[in-house]
């Protein structure tokens, strides 16, 4: 286990219940994820090499993760040769401390951030603010959730849980502009506000999509130009990357670009694809004077050591598995109480956040829609099954609500009894006879014990039946 960071958030059972009870949230999720899935389907249909590119991208990831240590050494060497300062952070605290140290040494006061899940993971903003720095998220969605003082509810669409009316109200309250629910007006208001902030900033922080070992090039994709401004305008620039972002060659990048936006946002390419190759050099007019790269482990090498979980390190953070997940679509990202929600979150969170996220691998019907849409075909259901087994043996054991504990015990008891088919058939017969007076045209309205939650939640239960026919043993 990685250094456990107990998450103070309430448990998944309570928060997911609030999610499904919010009809408005479900409507918003259904609309925007549905629109996204339509775009992805269209993109895939228009681009016949899509599947070949997926296979190529996966093969590159398999290779890269298979020799991660070697590639990271090469990357560090190249980055340093390009004039960057590299820091390898074993955990979130080390990463935060280093970034704070750089900020202090640079005398930075104002920080602009491009969208970065890695900095969410290490809870960077609260640490910077506690040190007296002003931090502004510059991706529109991130800016919105920052104004609301909440977490992104989606990996690439941070404000997916909000309607344009919600955002109009927020901007009216926080930015003091007249209320409008017109996206163009709201975007213009945010842009107007952010321009001045960019120009005044003395430090920029962004994430990294791909880090090319061969050349020490960092690739950052985005749609708003805010990543480019964050990485070039301020005098000090820090890129924060999970160690799994490294790929061997510059020639590998196009394979990922062909599939990433197509799957993530339903675009052919993102509007901006930044190739960042170090700080400003002698004689150059633009770019940061100093560039730092934080390579974040934070539990990733533990995942690497697990032959099944290792595949989770192939993830490109495209967010498509959230959009297609029938669970995510019903409860929204905040219900997961983790920086990483949805299917990918359920496989990486237990390792990153310890026992607080141990229930998440169970938050799935194992339907497999995530694996189907994943641009690098991560076998998420198989990893979920692996974690259910592993987490089930963890000490201290997972804390379950009473009903869930009863259901688990029930299936264990069933499994022991099911070793004796003749006994099971006798019991089925007894149950059928016993249930007969309670059944309404073959269904029971209320069930006891572990099945109580079936009939409490909108479903009648089929009455057990026994018929002496030759094909029913």
């Amino acid at each position: 286990m990685a250094a456990a960071k107990p998450d103070p958030a309430p448990d998944f059972f309570a928060t997911s219940r609030a999610g499904v009870a919010d009809a408005e949230l479900r409507r918003k999720l259904e609309n925007s994820t549905g629109r996204h899935l339509d775009h992805v389907a269209q993109m895939r249909a228009e681009f016949p090499p899509y599947d070949a590119e997926r296979d190529a991208a996966r093969a590159i990831k398999e290779d890269a993760i298979g020799r991660l240590d070697q590639l990271l050494i090469e990357l560090k060497h190249q980055l340093e040769a390009n004039g960057c300062t590299v820091f390898i952070a074993a955990d979130a605290a080390e990463a935060r401390d280093y970034i704070l140290k750089v900020a202090r040494q640079a005398g930075a006061r104002r920080v602009v951030k491009g969208k970065s899940m890695a900095t969410e993971e290490i809870a960077l903003n609260p640490a910077l603010e506690a040190a007296g720095l002003e931090v502004v998220e510059t991706d529109l969605g991130e800016y919105i959730v920052q104004l609301r003082r909440e977490r992104p509810s989606h990996i690439i669409t941070p404000a997916i849980h909000l309607s344009k009316e919600d955002i109009g109200q927020l901007f009216a309250d926080k930015l003091g502009i007249p209320y409008s629910a017109e996206p163009a007006t709201l975007t213009a208001a945010a842009r107007d506000r952010l321009r001045g902030i960019f120009l005044a900033a003395d430090m920029g922080i962004t994430g990294v999509n791909f880090a090319v070992a061969e050349t020490g090039t960092l690739v950052l994709v985005e749609n708003e130009g805010n990543g480019r401004l964050s990485s070039t305008l301020p005098e000090t620039f820090i890129a924060v990357m999970g160690i799994e972002k490294v790929i061997p060659r510059l020639a590998d990048v196009p394979h990922f670009l062909e599939i990433l936006a197509r799957t993530g946002t339903g675009q052919k390419l993102t509007t901006y694809t930044n190739f960042i190759s170090g700080p400003r050099r002698k004689g150059e007019a633009d770019g940061p004077g100093a560039m730092h790269v934080v390579m974040l482990d934070n539990g990733r090498s533990t995942m690497l050591a697990d032959p099944v979980l290792r595949e989770a390190l192939y993830c490109l953070r495209c967010g498509a598995c959230l959009n297609v997940c029938p669970v995510y679509r019903r409860i929204g990202g905040h219900a997961y109480n983790s920086v990483y929600p949805g299917p990918i979150g359920s496989i990486v969170s237990p390792n990153l956040f310890g026992s607080a996220a141990a229930q998440l691998p169970f938050a799935s019907t194992l339907c497999g829609a995530c694996r189907d849409i994943c641009p690098v075909k991560i076998d998420i259901p198989r990893i979920l099954l692996h974690l259910r087994w592993k987490e089930g043996q963890a000490t201290p054991p997972i804390k379950w609500p009473a009903d869930a504990r009863r259901a688990r015990a029930g299936v264990a008891r069933f499994a022991r009894m099911a070793r004796h088919p003749r006994t099971m058939r006798l019991l089925t017969r007894a149950a059928a006879i016993f249930a007969r007076p309670f059944a309404h045209d073959g269904y029971l309205k209320r069930m006891p014990g572990a099945f109580r939650n079936w009939t409490r939640w909108g479903r009648d239960f089929p009455a057990p039946r026994f018929r002496r026919r030759k094909h029913v043993p």
Binding site: S16, R17, V20, A21, R26, P326, V327, R330, I331, F362, A363, S364, T365, L366, C367, G368, A369, R371, L385, H386, L387, R388, W389, K390, G392, A404, A407, R408, V411, A412, F414, A415, R416, A418, R419, H420, P421, M424, R425, T428, D441, Y443, A450, F451, R452, N453, W454, W457, G458, R459, D460, F461, P462, P464, F466, R467, K470, H471, V472, P473
Partner: protein, 240 residues
Amino acid sequence: MTEVRLFATCLAEQFFPSVVDAAALVLERMKIKVRPLKSAFCCGQAPFNEGLREPALELARRFLNSCEPGTPVVIPSGSCTSMVKIFYSDLLAEEPALAARAAAIRPWLFEFSQFIVNVMRVKYVGARFDRTVAYHPACHLTRELGVVDEPRVLLGQVEGLRLVDFRNPEECCGFGGLFSVKLPHISAAMVEDKIVRLKECGAQAVVANDCGCLMQIGGAIHRQGLAIETFHLAEVLAAR
């Protein structure tokens, strides 16, 4: 004459015995000798999916000892078939002898529609079913076994049957085994939305290949008092 073993599955034995009868009838009409696989009751998927691998292993052992390489085993469930054909290799990773047996038996395990269409090469089974039908493609059937067209091919040949489309048919119904009672609010929300889409399409009946989906969709339809019936594919193919 071809001979097959029919594995009823625990859900069908307890709650849907008519599905087992129907599956046997359809196979017998194709001049196949059908013998029940009596010595196993459950493939172990429910405990396996809960992470309870030891109890699941004992059920896998029993199932595998009930099968013989060379005799096809037909299973009227996509998810039980995916368990024995696919997930056993993970479950049995530490049991080389049993894993070898599973590998020898694997080619002889078939989901019901897969067996009829791909092995027997039959599309028309002489069924008649006068209803407007929506077909719900079960998740494990579709995404684990890759059985996508077979049930639709069979339904397309049933006289009197009109197949209608509905929005987002591939989205899971929310059953998920123990998920349905451990996270009942999410499970119920999923089937609620599925039923909204089924109502829109005007189907008189929903057909699926998996008793888990039928329990979930049928249970919610019955609770809502809707006039939509639920059937297993085998029941539709057995109808005359």
